[in-house]
């Protein structure tokens, strides 16, 4: 098992990063019921971990006995039936799914699952809770329609179904949904907190950590706990015993983006643009999300630019990312950004050096 899974705290009391939030959650569910919850925060900050620990707090160890199913739904949409398939994780007391995986038909899934839950209302025999929990991942990726259709459903079935919603970007969740939940912000852990987690894992694995080693990993982690733990394990595989100057390997795709940045700083021409396009394609084919690529590219460019150009370049990055979101073909917009950058940079070079 990967360390990220092996050392994921199981109960709210074991959580060592968001201790305060964990204790609050514990109090929140102390009395039989809890409101709908919306967890939001950057990737790898510990949202899922807290949600799973919270389920255990509410339902006991049974919440960990999950089965993975590929569920099929036949949805009667009047004139035709829609077939949908989605992977769900469920225990006796909860169901977890990522409805955005079925694209624009996401709202049917949400409705269907909630109704199913309402029908199979848990019967209380051994003092177990009278409600089930539906965990919805990536609600920021839900279509507007799906979000709208959640509005009344969340109220109507609130007696027997609680929603735990989870997302990165809460700005993408509609006001009406946010108004129906207690919002729980999960900030990314600080570098010191990450160091603590790494030290603890090191201890449990019986590893010898040179001083400053964990700190260097934490600095490279972008404050993502998941990333830090993955890096740590990679280092362990690459070389042990650790040495204090051991290199922390960067992600392949990030190096690749750094290369692209160098390429376009060196030469601004249609030919170069064409070469860069190939590289951008390569990244997309490897499933690096286009907005992540754009952000990383901006990061690399900003590192290399004079102050006066930074404003201009970040302006266009924001502009093209927005266009990309509205459009369909990400590559066009990435390429447009690169072309724009080349033109600006060339203008700058000519103005400065003639």
């Amino acid at each position: 098992m990967l360390w990220v899974d092996k050392y994921r705290p199981k109960t709210l009391d074991q959580v060592i990063v968001h201790e305060d939030i964990a204790q609050n959650l514990k109090k929140l569910v102390a009395e039989q019921d809890c409101p709908h919850l919306l967890f939001y925060g950057p990737p790898g900050s510990g949202k899922k971990t807290l949600i799973m620990a919270l389920l255990r707090q509410i339902f006991g160890p049974g919440a960990e006995k999950v089965k993975v199913e590929n569920k099929n739904w036949k949805i009667d949409a009047g004139s035709r039936t829609i077939d949908l398939e989605l992977t769900t994780l469920s225990s006796a007391n909860h169901v977890e799914l990522s409805p955005s995986d079925v694209g624009f038909q996401d709202r049917y899934v949400v409705q269907e699952v909630i109704k199913e839950m309402a029908k199979n209302r848990p019967i209380d025999t051994k003092g177990k809770r009278g409600f089930k929990v539906l965990v919805l991942n990536d609600v920021d990726k839900l279509s507007r329609e799906a979000q709208h259709s959640l509005r009344r459903t969340m109220e109507k079935y609130s007696a027997f179904c609680r929603l735990f919603l989870c997302c990165n970007s809460s700005s993408r969740v509609t006001e009406a949904i946010r108004s129906r939940c207690l919002n729980v912000r999960i900030n990314a852990p600080t570098e010191e907190q990450i160091v603590n987690v790494l030290d603890l894992i090191g201890k449990k694995e019986g590893l010898e950590l040179p001083s400053g080693f964990a700190t260097r990993i934490a600095e490279k982690s972008n404050r993502s706990l998941r990333r830090a733990i993955l890096l740590f394990e990679t280092c362990r595989v690459q070389q042990y015993p650790f040495t204090s100057n051991q290199a922390i390997p960067p992600m392949d795709w990030e190096e690749y983006v750094a290369e692209i940045a160098s390429d376009i700083m060196k030469e601004q021409s249609p030919k170069r643009l064409f070469q860069v396009r190939g590289k951008l394609y390569e990244l997309l084919i490897n499933c690096i999300p286009p907005d992540i690529v754009l952000k990383r590219l901006l990061y690399e460019l900003l590192k290399r630019l004079d102050a006066e150009l930074k404003h201009e370049v970040c302006h266009w990055a924001a502009y093209y990312e927005h266009k990309m979101r509205l459009g369909q073909k990400a590559i066009f917009h990435l390429e447009a950004f690169v072309a724009k950058f080349m033109s600006i940079y060339k203008g700058f070079l000519i103005a400065t050096f003639g």
Binding site: R180, L182, V184
Partner: protein, 342 residues
């Protein structure tokens, strides 16, 4: 028999007014509906307005008051976007429902029971235009025996031919006084202590949305016990602490792009919702006394653009960085036009 479930309801449901007269702050619609209770006359209705202002509450209350628990099921059909599986299903449901005769309008069990049925279409703004058009016909066909209640957040999404058939009521965000009196009522019932400061904080952070205020209150009560302070409420509400906005603003004043970028990165890592941050930044900028109107307008233009882009789903980091860069350029009197853009 299966044991009765005792899962308690969230407070928003527990304190949902059961009678039209208890709906706060929406005087006009309350007046019209009170009249309905006396005369049994009721037009088609369209309720619109922001979340948590009482639209669903009002529609459910009038339906219950007109028909009482016995008749409710046979006389009221509640449909929402979640039931809607295409207009055909809706139409069939409505047809089947409307087709059963209602009998004469006679009071039953102390309820007026007027001779029509009520169809509540909640979340009507998520119906497609086609679906709405199709509904027009249905509405006409059954106009003698049905009354429609349309409920939505955005009235502009309801097509004109439907809207014009209804009496329209805008539900206003609740004023702080009205909100306070509802909150105090709940505090009394639940045995909570809330001082004046906490009460006014709750009013301002929930921005006229009573559901939100009640949710915050319940959250705070669970977490902090029966005496709740203003700080506790801010804590559960997820409002961004003024220091955070202040730090960003200060970073803009330095004129150093990298300093500002670092601040933006921190804000994103801390997970603050950028849409909320922008509106708090807006307040700071509008109120700042040492910024010229010209600078303010330059900044606000950009804020508006970013807000729109966020609604479109644009990336939070990039939008915030762009706004920050613009604020910096305005504050430090850097030219508005870019230099190297050809």
């Amino acid at each position: 028999m299966a044991p009765v479930l005792q899962s308690s309801q969230p407070w928003v449901e527990k304190y949902r007014p059961k009678q039209v007269k208890d709906v706060a702050h929406q005087d006009e619609v309350v007046r019209v509906l009170t009249n309905t209770l006396e005369t049994s006359n009721c037009p088609h209705m369209l309720f619109y307005g922001p979340p948590g202002t009482g639209k669903t509450t009002t529609a459910l209350a009038i339906a219950h008051q007109l028909f009482g628990p016995e008749m409710y099921k046979s006389r009221v059909l509640e449909l929402n976007a979640s039931d809607d599986r295409g207009i055909n299903v809706v139409r069939t449901k409505i047809k089947d429902f409307a087709a059963v005769a209602v009998g004469s309008g006679q009071r039953q069990g102390g309820y007026p029971c007027p001779p029509y049925k009520i169809i509540i279409l909640d979340e009507a703004d998520s119906m497609t235009e086609d679906a709405q058009n199709a509904l027009r016909r249905t509405m006409e066909t059954y106009s003698k025996v049905t009354r429609f209640f349309f409920i939505c957040n955005y009235v502009s999404r309801i097509i004109e031919p439907l809207a014009s058939r209804c009496a329209k009521f805008r539900f206003k965000p609740l004023s702080e006084e009205v909100m306070s009196s509802r909150i105090l009522h709940i505090c009394k019932e639940e045995g909570l202590n809330l001082d004046g400061e906490a009460l006014s904080t709750l009013g301002s952070i929930s921005q006229g949305d009573l559901r939100r205020a009640i949710t915050y209150l319940q959250g705070a009560a669970r977490l902090f016990g029966s005496t709740i302070t203003s700080k506790d409420l801010i804590n559960v509400s997820g409002v961004i602490p003024p220091e955070v906005v202040g730090a960003l603003f200060a970073a803009c004043r330095t004129g150093d792009f990298d300093v500002a970028n670092k601040e933006v990165n921190n804000i994103i890592a801390d997970g603050y919702p950028v849409s909320m941050l922008l509106s708090q930044l807006f307040d700071v900028i509008v109120e700042a006394e040492d910024i010229l109107d010209e600078q303010k307008s330059r900044i606000c233009k950009r804020l508006a653009e970013a807000d729109k882009r966020l609604v479109d789903g644009a990336d939070e980091y990039l939008q915030l960085l762009d706004v920050t860069s613009n604020v910096m350029r305005a504050l430090c009197n850097m030219p508005e036009e870019f230099q190297y853009d050809s």
